[in-house]
């Protein structure tokens, strides 16, 4: 990071004046806990005893045979709650508790971050309110119920596109209104500084584990790591500890119905620099600066922004960003379920789809790690409906 809160030219703190003191307070609190071994220890304990870390790095014998390379899955689908999101929410909820905050608020798209916040809130005794676009409350109804079971209140957002972007808008409006006692627990590496840095740090446990596990199993780091990119937290979480290694890093965005149709969420592949939700980063916007509606089969990727660190990594060409379309994703969802007995989240299926589509790029000794950011139980009903199964 160069200037305060900047990744190259990206990042910053573009928020209304009321939130500045809260961000400064958060920066300060985060500095304190990063220097505090007790915090680290408390987090480690929750990760091991509650979240189920470390997660396995599973060798996929069937898929490897079929594709002709050595494929591993980093099994974030096995984290308690069903996705990588708990890595972040446990860290931030512990921080909120240290800061003496009385209430957690969060936004959610697929519902996975909302569920992970509900889990952390219940475990630490903090009340949780989750903003969720009305469209998403319908396509991820199971997750709404899961949040409610764990005592969280889900607030459907009926403004704008009624998806993740608008859920973040509403969460920001709530925060600005209750800034003194409320902690905004953001779910990805987006938003104003220090969120992108802090969420990346909490998610880096994925890459730290994967690096050790791969060295143990293969005696070296992988040749390629593939992760899906919505806001970018699971991707940066697995990439970050490998940034100074020699290997290929691939971030897969939601190509939706195809970049040419305009119905996608491929921020890095099709966007241009701008400011949304407090950070300067790539953004899907029109010629005048209005943020564009997005589409993805995966609610968790259906977002017009992206974390500022990814924007820097794209410009530096350290990470290759690309897309796969909805249909590729459905095929990958089916493929992994059938071949390995693992049902991936539709978000994670984007990373799987990339490897399936580009299998001919890999040699038989190439080691490819796919970040399986979540499990697909939440998507089963929607996929069944798309397949005409009722």
């Amino acid at each position: 990071m160069d200037k305060k809160g900047r990744f190259g030219e990206y990042g910053g703190q573009f928020v209304s004046e009321t939130l500045m003191s809260a961000l400064l307070e958060l920066e300060h609190a985060y500095d304190m806990i990063t220097a505090d071994p007790h915090f680290e220890q408390a987090l480690r304990e929750y990760q091991a005893e509650f979240a189920g870390r470390p997660t396995p790095l599973t060798f996929c014998a069937n898929m490897s045979r079929e594709l002709g390379c050595r494929i591993y899955l980093k099994r974030e689908d096995l984290v308690h709650g069903g996705s990588h999101k708990l890595n972040n929410t446990l860290g931030q909820a512990l921080l909120a508790q240290r800061m003496g905050k009385k209430r957690l608020i969060a936004e959610t798209g697929a519902g996975q971050h909302g569920v992970a916040t509900a889990i952390a809130g219940a475990a630490l005794g903090l009340p949780v309110e989750v903003y969720m676009g009305e469209v998403d409350t319908k396509r991820q109804a199971l997750n709404v119920f899961r949040m409610e079971l764990m005592g969280a209140k889900v607030i459907p957002v009926k403004t704008g596109t009624r998806t993740l972007k608008d859920a973040i808008n509403e969460a920001l409006r709530d925060w600005v209104t209750h800034v003194e006692d409320t902690y905004y627990l953001i779910g990805s590496v987006v938003g104003p500084h220090p969120y992108p840095m802090m969420v990346r740090d909490f998610q880096s446990v994925i890459g730290c584990e994967a690096r050790e596990q791969c060295k143990k199993k293969e005696g070296r780091v992988p040749d390629t790591i593939v992760a899906c990119v919505g806001g970018g937290s699971n991707a940066i979480g697995i990439f970050y500890p490998f940034l100074s290694d020699t290997l290929e890093l691939v971030g897969v965005e939601a190509g939706g119905r195809g970049i040419g149709t305009g119905e996608h969420s491929a921020t890095l592949c099709a966007g241009e620099a701008g400011v949304l939700h407090g950070a300067f980063s790539y953004l899907l916007q029109d010629a005048h600066g209005q943020v564009l509606p997005t589409h993805s089969i995966a609610a968790g990727l259906d977002y017009p922004g992206v974390g500022p660190e990814h924007s820097m990594l794209k410009d530096a060409r350290r990470v290759t960003y690309t897309t796969v379309n909805d249909q590729d994703v459905l095929d990958a969802f089916m493929f992994l379920s059938r071949t390995e007995g693992i049902i991936p989240a539709l978000e994670s299926a984007h990373a799987v789809a990339y490897v399936l589509k580009h299998a001919d790029r890999f040699d038989k000794d190439d080691v490819v790690v796919i970040n399986l950011s979540g499990r697909g139980d939440k998507d089963v009903a929607e996929v069944a409906a798309l397949q005409g199964v009722t």
Binding site: S16, S21, D166, V176, V275, Q290
Partner: protein
């Protein structure tokens, strides 16, 4: 001395700053809204540049932004409106916008075109003083007053930094929250007014939630130099969209009543 400075120099009344969203519900009606606000006695006209994601705004202004965008409003529309209003009146015009609208056009181009159209001040709702260096410099080049927000949560150190860069007036946010009409002016708002007074001689205008003559009176008695009224005006526009002559009449009457409440008798 800028046009905004001169307005605040006039004695005997609390400066009334009336806000409407440019292009709400469409460009031509919006021009008539602006003219009616001026005819009613608005001292400074504040125009919102509609944005898809106005996170500092409550429901009333969000919906106005949506209407304006649906009607095809762009920054070009806004500047053409400003030129039309400028031909009609010499009232200072302040734009309220979000950073992405400025960045996308190019900061320098946005300020140059604003200046050429006759804009006097610009407030960027999601640009804290920490991110404002480039913008403030360009604003100065084009003689546009950079307007900044100050809130209850602004620390004394940051307040000094804001005061150093701000020109025209300071926009004091009377509540923690988003824009929208509220029942009363909270005591914290008046406490903020007194606190900021110790930091600067700039005129201080209170906004967020001010909608009734009693609110103006409270602010005036507490020594505010101005009041900013947005959502209440936008609601009048929304309610009377089907009857524009009535809308104009209501707007004029409303501004006149609010102004009368701000007359200081000393």
């Amino acid at each position: 001395m800028s046009r905004i400075d001169r307005v605040f120099q006039r004695n005997g009344q609390t400066t009334f700053i009336g806000f409407a969203v440019a292009g709400d519900p469409d460009r031509d009606t919006s021009a008539r809204v602006a003219h009616a606000l001026i005819d009613g006695g608005t001292d400074i006209l504040e125009l919102g540049v509609p944005f898809s994601d106005p996170v500092a705004d409550g429901k009333t202004i969000q919906k106005a932004d949506e209407r304006a965008i649906a009607a095809g409003t762009t920054p070009d529309t806004v500047f053409s409106l400003v030129r039309e209003i400028r031909a009609y009146s010499a009232v200072p015009i302040v734009l309220l916008t979000y950073y992405n609208m400025v960045y996308r056009r190019g900061v320098e181009r946005f300020y140059r075109e604003a200046h050429e159209a006759g804009v006097d001040g610009i407030l960027i709702a999601d640009m804290p003083v920490e991110e404002s260096a480039e913008v403030v410099e360009i604003a100065r080049t084009y003689e546009i007053d950079p307007i900044f927000l100050v809130t209850r949560t602004t620390s004394p150190e940051r307040m000094d930094e804001i005061v150093r860069r701000a020109r025209g007036f300071l926009y004091l946010v009377s509540v923690l929250g988003v824009t929208g009409a509220r029942d009363r002016v909270p005591d914290e708002a008046l406490a903020l007014l007194h606190r900021v007074r110790t930091h600067t001689a700039l005129p201080l205008a209170l906004g967020f939630g001010i909608s009734a003559p009693e609110h103006v009176k409270t602010c005036a008695e507490a020594g505010a130099d101005g009041v900013i009224v947005g959502s209440a005006i936008v609601s009048i526009v929304e309610k009377n969209a089907g009857n524009i002559p009535l809308m104009e009449q209501e707007l004029k009457r409303y501004v006149a009543r609010m102004k009368a409440a701000g007359v200081r008798d000393r």
